[in-house]
């Protein structure tokens, strides 16, 4: 018996070792093909139950700095299939490795498919697929996603997964796209709660004509003219989803205004231009910051429900081409403040009008704030926020605080100089 006492731990460890390999789920990195982006389109075969799936496979060897390969940075395959998951196997008819979604950065959907009433069915497939994370951003493309992928050749960041990470990060910091809100998890949440609108990132590789107006950013992706040799793809504005289906678009400017109103959306320092009250020809560039939360007061029990919104904004004036001396003249500053307040609240009023009349729903996160006014879920659901919202009287008040005037606050007096 004594002899065996020493033997038994050894036997135990021998038994334990095979378990460490992860049983059947053991995989080696070299045998996997990493899908960086998935594109979803309507199938061209005319079969309603099929979709066209595009996998963009990143080349992991390409990231290695020390040993550059001659292999291309990415590979793309497109095929018709029943859903994203079954496509994993179908892809193996051409791809030599096991398909993995572990490093998936984005899901792209064509505008045409997003507007389909059955779109939601395919979106919910991703809840079943373990490897797709709820944090994955959703991008709606104006054209077919295959075309988008083909056109998307970033010049200075050829590692495609990094490209998506970076462009979405900095685009959303500028407030042009609603990044933090636009992942799949939020899509499910908004659709299930059925009280507000969901915003996805809007992007395109197609150029479209646009008559330039005075405002700086009131265009959609594809409308901005970018000269010289660069990537054709632009991300700007947002696609609006109601009940899981795309119903409209917001321009870059409107997306910014939404970010301004919605406290749940991350907002960085936004650079924007405003008209100069002392000289209509010029515009002032300002850095816009929100340091405090938007104050939303709701009066819903009233037969004429009301929402009063007050937004505190901090502005740093960066340039003023009119060369008006704002820094030393408090009256002029007051005038400038008023003018900017009016301009911002006009934009916001127009946006609210658009949401009430065109979309009949709001993406401002007010539905969750409204829940505070109710005691039970039933009461809130009976109130039917989505139906009530278009009739609510919304008052917006913008409070601008002007901070500093750039590194050098003084400007020379032009008339004296030219004299």
């Amino acid at each position: 018996m004594r002899k065996f006492q020493h033997l038994s731990p050894i036997l135990f460890f021998i038994f334990i070792i095979p378990l460490l390999s992860g049983c059947w789920d053991q995989t080696s990195i070299e045998e996997r093909a990493y899908v960086v982006a998935i594109g979803l389109d309507k199938s061209k075969s005319g079969n309603e139950n099929q979709i066209q799936v595009t996998y963009l496979l990143g080349n992991p060897e390409f990231s290695k700095k020390e040993a550059m390969t001659n292999e291309p940075p990415m590979e793309m395959i497109t095929f018709d299939t029943n859903d994203v998951t079954v496509g994993k196997n179908k892809a193996n008819t051409v791809i030599a490795k096991e398909i993995s979604f572990n490093l998936l950065s984005v899901i792209l959907v064509s505008e045409e498919f997003a507007k389909d009433k059955n779109f939601i069915r395919w979106m919910y497939d991703t809840t079943k697929e373990r490897e797709i994370k709820r944090k994955t951003p959703v991008i709606v493309t104006k054209e077919e996603t295959t075309k988008f992928f083909k056109q998307n050749r970033p010049k200075l960041e050829s590692r495609i997964h990094k490209y998506y990470d970076y462009i979405l990060k900095y685009g959303s910091e500028a407030g042009m796209i609603p990044n933090s809100e636009s992942n799949i998890g939020k899509y499910y949440r908004t659709t299930q709660a059925d009280a507000s609108l969901y915003l996805a990132i809007y992007g395109t590789s197609e150029k479209s004509d646009y008559s330039r107006s005075n405002e700086e950013d009131s265009f959609m992706a594809g409308e901005m003219k970018v000269g010289e040799e660069t990537n054709k793809v632009q991300f700007m504005g947002s696609a609006v989803f109601k009940e899981g289906k795309m119903i409209g678009k917001l321009t870059g400017e409107e997306t910014r205004a939404t970010v301004l109103l919605n406290d749940t959306l991350e907002m960085g320092a936004i650079l924007a231009t405003y008209k100069d009250p002392f000289d209509e020809r010029y515009r002032i560039t300002a850095k816009l910051l929100k340091k405090e939360k938007t104050d939303v007061k709701m009066d819903l029990k009233n037969p004429l429900p009301k929402i009063n919104v007050s937004i505190p904004i901090y502005l740093d004036i960066l340039t003023q081409h009119s060369m008006v001396d704002y820094a030393n003249d408090s009256q002029k500053r007051e005038r400038l403040k008023q003018s900017i307040e009016e301009e911002i609240s006009d934009t916001l009023d127009a946006l609210i009008k658009k949401t009430q009349e065109e979309f009949k729903g709001e993406p401002f996160g007010w539905a969750t704030l409204a829940r505070k006014q109710f005691l039970t879920i039933k009461e809130f659901e009976n109130y039917d926020w989505m139906k009530t919202y278009p009739e609510i009287d919304v008052n917006i008040e913008v409070k601008v605080n002007i901070g500093n005037f750039g590194n050098q606050s003084d400007v020379p007096n032009l008339e004296e100089m030219r004299d």
Binding site: L19, G22, C23, W24, D25, N102, T127, R130, K133, R134, K135, G185, Y188, R189, Q192, A193, T264, T368, L369, R371, K372, F374, L375, T376, I377, K378, E379, F380
Partner: protein, 365 residues
């Protein structure tokens, strides 16, 4: 064998507390929150507070009984108060309850591991590993389980705290409104139905004689009770803050969705950082469950070395647990019915015991 003799098979406050926290506290990380959200909506955290209130009386009476009959455990107390025959029937019911809890929970945990982490590994293999490790622990006895629980307790709590902090930072506080969730009366009704969540506290009575003394036992129970309730409240609020009630009620296992969703700084796939801690605490939990079933079985059929029953019970657990076709649905349904059925047993038994003790005049001695 020597070390066992020196402690005389007794566990201290640390081990008892660790056992309580890992046995009851880990329920926040399985399918329990899912059943809560179904009945309470986003007010699940109020529900758990009410459950705490409801179960306060039975647990209080239990601690009184343990204090009264020093050096006796709940088995001795039941047999002493209700006599041989009724006592046997009662213990048999309690044993069946324990075995069923073990079967349904191990089936669900196997499903969690299988669907969320090890997709391609056959269910049987996961089940065998889970039950075999648990049986190994259970066979070693309660001191062994207790001290291993204490060793990992710090790490489990640390991982849970990190998750909670991240969840509260990344989540949206307004999601917990409307504050009353499904409504006042619904919450009260639900709390009664779900009160069996804390049945484990009754079962801790069975190891009362393995604890150093009754004061330590009672202290452990109360500290454990408070921490369990608190962690449940925080976790239930945390899940709602991250996914909203509308999202979270669709999840089978909110904890695992949470660790897949959150990001810590530049780290994105953090679930594999937390999964091992959850796994080890599950092993401890099932070791303890198996130990309890064996202990009760031994008491019922007068088996002195009841540890030798463990492998047989483990095999039974596995065989029955593998029978249903899709474990999540059949087991979840069965478990909910089962939990509703045992709620009155859990709530009434301590009261009945206490009244009998009072009538027998044991408190006067």
């Amino acid at each position: 064998m020597n070390s066992m003799d020196s402690t005389k098979g007794k566990i201290g406050l640390k081990e008892l507390l660790a056992l309580i926290l890992l046995d009851v506290g880990t329920k926040v990380a399985d399918d329990t929150p899912h059943t809560f959200y179904e009945d309470f909506g986003n007010a699940a955290w109020i529900g758990i507070l009410l459950i705490g209130l409801i179960t306060l009386i039975p647990i209080l009476l239990l601690t009184k009984l343990i204090k009264l009959y020093k050096d006796k455990n709940l088995i001795d107390i039941i047999l002493h108060l209700f006599g041989k025959y009724i006592g046997f029937v009662l213990l048999f019911i309690l044993w069946i309850m324990q075995v069923f809890a073990n079967i349904s929970n191990s089936a669900i945990y196997t499903d969690i591991i299988g669907t969320m982490y090890f997709n391609r590994t056959p269910v049987v293999v996961i089940y065998v590993v889970l039950v075999a490790v648990a049986a190994y622990g259970a066979k070693k006895g309660v001191e062994y389980i207790g001290s291993s629980a204490w060793v990992i307790l710090f790490w489990v709590i640390l991982s849970l705290l990190i998750i909670l902090v991240v969840t509260f930072v990344q989540g949206e506080f307004t999601y917990i409104f409307p504050i009353l969730g499904t409504g006042g009366w619904e919450i009260v009704k639900g709390s009664y139905n779900h009160s069996s969540l804390l049945t484990d506290f009754l079962y801790f009575g069975f190891i009362a004689s393995n604890v150093k003394n009754s004061t330590v036992f009672n202290k452990g129970i109360w500290i454990g009770f408070s921490i369990v309730i608190l962690s449940f409240v925080l976790a239930l609020i945390g899940y709602v803050m991250l996914f909203d009630y509308y999202g979270v009620r669709m999840f089978d296992y909110p904890y695992h969705e949470t660790i897949r969703y959150i990001e810590i700084g530049f780290l994105t796939n953090v679930e594999l950082l937390f999964f091992p801690f959850w796994l080890v605490s599950s092993f401890i939990r099932f070791s303890f469950y198996l130990y309890l079933s064996a202990l009760l079985f031994g008491a019922l059929f007068k088996i002195k070395h009841f540890e030798y029953v463990v492998p047989a019970l483990a095999a039974l657990t596995m065989l029955v647990g593998l029978m249903p076709e899709s474990a999540v649905f059949s087991m979840n349904k069965l478990k909910i019915i089962f939990l509703n059925v045992i709620a009155p047993v859990f709530l009434l038994l301590p009261i009945l015991l206490w009244i009998t003790a009072k009538l027998k005049g044991d408190f006067k001695k």
